[in-house]
């Protein structure tokens, strides 16, 4: 199993120091900034926790419990963003009977900031998704689905920029190839664009034009396909591109024991994470920024 090997490679050292990365104690606290990213993926209409007699996930998950956790983290650090990597819909009768209205309402109560679109979010067709949008008080981003000739035109942007604690954060979305996975009747005139090409353009724009200091990709491409390694996946995307700090993945329901550190095309370390499915886990990534500090120690310490 290639995936496990990959995790093992970094598994030994839990703290990885990049380019020297000697941490100096800072002299003033004002220049320190702290952004917390919380994330979910493939929650699949799992509103309630798993039943107590469930074989693998007994009592795990549940949106009302997730709300408590998120509130705690927000109290600890108000500069928190809450993100989702798609497949919000489908998986329990809540979706079959209410069409996703409750999923979006609850996510709005949890104050999700941004989400991307998964293949199952088309399960009631693109019109069914559109119909539920009024319940979503958060934004959807997708950079490689061209919705120009669909009802979602102008409703889904390629990216969103959020400024938190003075840090400019660019968040863009990527979706999985729909042909062969979703009935064309459901996704209609949605055009799938090459994720790598799109990412090169978007990250260039976010980094160099918009001057984002943190770039996050919400991806529903899938973590990695060991039987078809040539298929685009989060690990492949991470290695083939630059300027992304974090890929939050979905689709493959991969329960990573810890986020994966990947070297991008410029040999810089970045993170790929995915937290399984069904709202069993929430990922938490804390980014610490410092304006002071020794100019020579420009490294970033990544602790996973």
């Amino acid at each position: 199993m290639k995936r496990r090997d990959f995790i093992k490679q970094i598994g030994g050292a839990s703290a990885l120091t990049v380019t020297g990365g000697l941490m100096l104690p800072s002299f003033t606290s004002k220049e320190k900034r702290h952004i917390t990213i919380l994330h979910t993926n493939d929650t699949h209409s799992h509103i309630e926790p798993f039943k107590a007699n469930h074989k693998r996930h007994a009592n795990k998950g549940g949106v009302a419990k997730r709300a408590t956790l998120i509130e705690q983290v927000r109290r600890e650090n108000p500069n928190t963003l809450l993100l989702d990597a798609g497949d919000i819909f489908q998986g329990t009768p809540y979706f079959n009977f209410f069409g996703g209205a409750l999923e979006f309402k609850l996510m709005s109560m949890l104050k999700y900031d941004v989400a991307t679109i998964g293949n199952h979010d088309f399960d009631n067709s693109i019109d069914g998704f559109y119909k539920q949008l009024p319940h979503a008080k958060f934004d959807f981003v997708s950079a490689n689905y061209d919705f120009k000739n669909t009802v979602l035109d102008t409703h889904v942007k390629p990216y969103k920029i959020i400024v938190k604690d003075g840090i400019k954060i660019g968040i863009f979305g990527l979706g999985v190839q729909l042909d062969g996975l979703v009935n064309k009747k459901l996704y209609k005139e949605t055009v799938y664009l090459d994720p790598i090409e799109v990412t090169q353009d978007i990250t260039n724009e976010l980094k160099n034009e918009k001057k984002c200091e943190l770039i996050i990709c919400l991806s529903h491409l899938g973590y990695y396909y060991k039987n078809t390694p040539e298929v685009i996946s989060d690990l492949n995307l991470a290695k083939a591109t630059k300027n992304i700090d974090l890929i939050i993945g979905g689709h493959t329901h991969t329960f990573l024991p810890k986020p994966t550190i990947v070297k991008n095309i410029e040999d810089k370390n970045m993170l790929v994470n995915q937290v399984g499915a069904y709202g069993i886990n929430v990922g938490r990534i804390d980014f610490y920024f410092d304006e002071k500090g020794n100019k020579s120690s420009t490294g970033t310490t990544i602790i996973v």
Binding site: V63, P93, L214, L256, I280, F289, E291
Partner: protein, 249 residues
């Protein structure tokens, strides 16, 4: 005085607009499990509750009745619930398929593992269909060559599981060989046959590779679960038997 105030404001704005010189120095990542130690938010529970009640009412709606338990017990490579699922599928889908293509379905094959629950004796509610078929699989018709049908039968014989086959199949399994009739006509390896199955199995699920690359594939856009629910709505009392569709000598 006002001018000074504006000037100060302007300076302030310029300073605050300045991009931070922040360097990313440290990243800490972890995964937090939502477990039973976390108390649920009351505000969220209040919003969920009316949906939960409405859902329960819909799921508990009684559609049919079963005078006996239709279980998954494997007897002569058949099960009561499996036979019912295969037979009700061809019954429900055949008219639609005929209308759509002017062709007929020869038989049905599903996988034993894909039938996720039994039908207990008594009232049968909507929820039962969700338990039997929790997945969103849709039914498809696969036209296969005689050679692929041979592979299908070999799979069935060697896999030694009660994979549901509809009553259109009469398969007698003896040691080393078998006899196959489809709709009372001896199997002809030079003919093609149309098999109703799920999109999951058609794409190679449960290693049913013979369904891949068929002569022709017709998608029905009809969820297996909806077929079950529609049948339950039509039929007062569910019935199923172990019959001679499979004979093991």
């Amino acid at each position: 005085m006002k001018k000074i105030f504006y000037a100060i404001c302007l300076i302030f704005m310029v300073i605050s607009c300045k991009k931070t010189d922040a360097k990313l120095t440290k990243i800490i990542a972890k995964t937090i499990e939502i477990d039973s130690t976390i108390q649920p938010s009351v505000a969220l529970k209040t919003v969920i509750s009316p949906y939960k009640e409405k859902l329960a009412a819909k799921m508990q709606k009684v559609l049919s009745y079963s005078s006996e338990e239709l279980n998954k017990k494997d007897s002569v490579r058949q099960s009561l619930v499996g036979n019912l699922m295969a037979d009700l599928s061809i019954e429900m889908v055949s008219p639609l398929f005929n209308k759509k293509t002017n062709e007929t379905i020869d038989f049905v094959m599903f996988n034993y593992g894909g039938i996720r629950a039994i039908i207990p004796k008594g009232e049968v509610a909507v929820e039962r269909a969700f338990k039997i078929m929790p997945f969103e699989n849709e039914l498809v018709v696969v036209e296969l060559t005689g050679e692929k049908i041979k592979e299908l039968i070999s799979y069935f014989i060697n896999n030694k599981k009660a994979h549901p086959l509809s009553k259109n199949v009469q398969l007698t399994i003896a040691s080393g060989n078998y006899d196959l009739k489809i709709n009372n006509v001896p199997f002809d390896s030079k003919k093609t046959y149309r098999v109703l199955t799920s999109d999951y199995l058609q794409s190679g699920g449960d290693r049913m590779t013979f369904f891949k690359d068929p002569v022709k594939l017709t998608k029905l856009n009809y969820k297996f679960r909806d077929v079950i629910i529609d049948y339950f709505k039509e039929v007062d009392t569910l019935k199923s038997t172990i019959d001679n569709r499979i004979i093991v000598k």
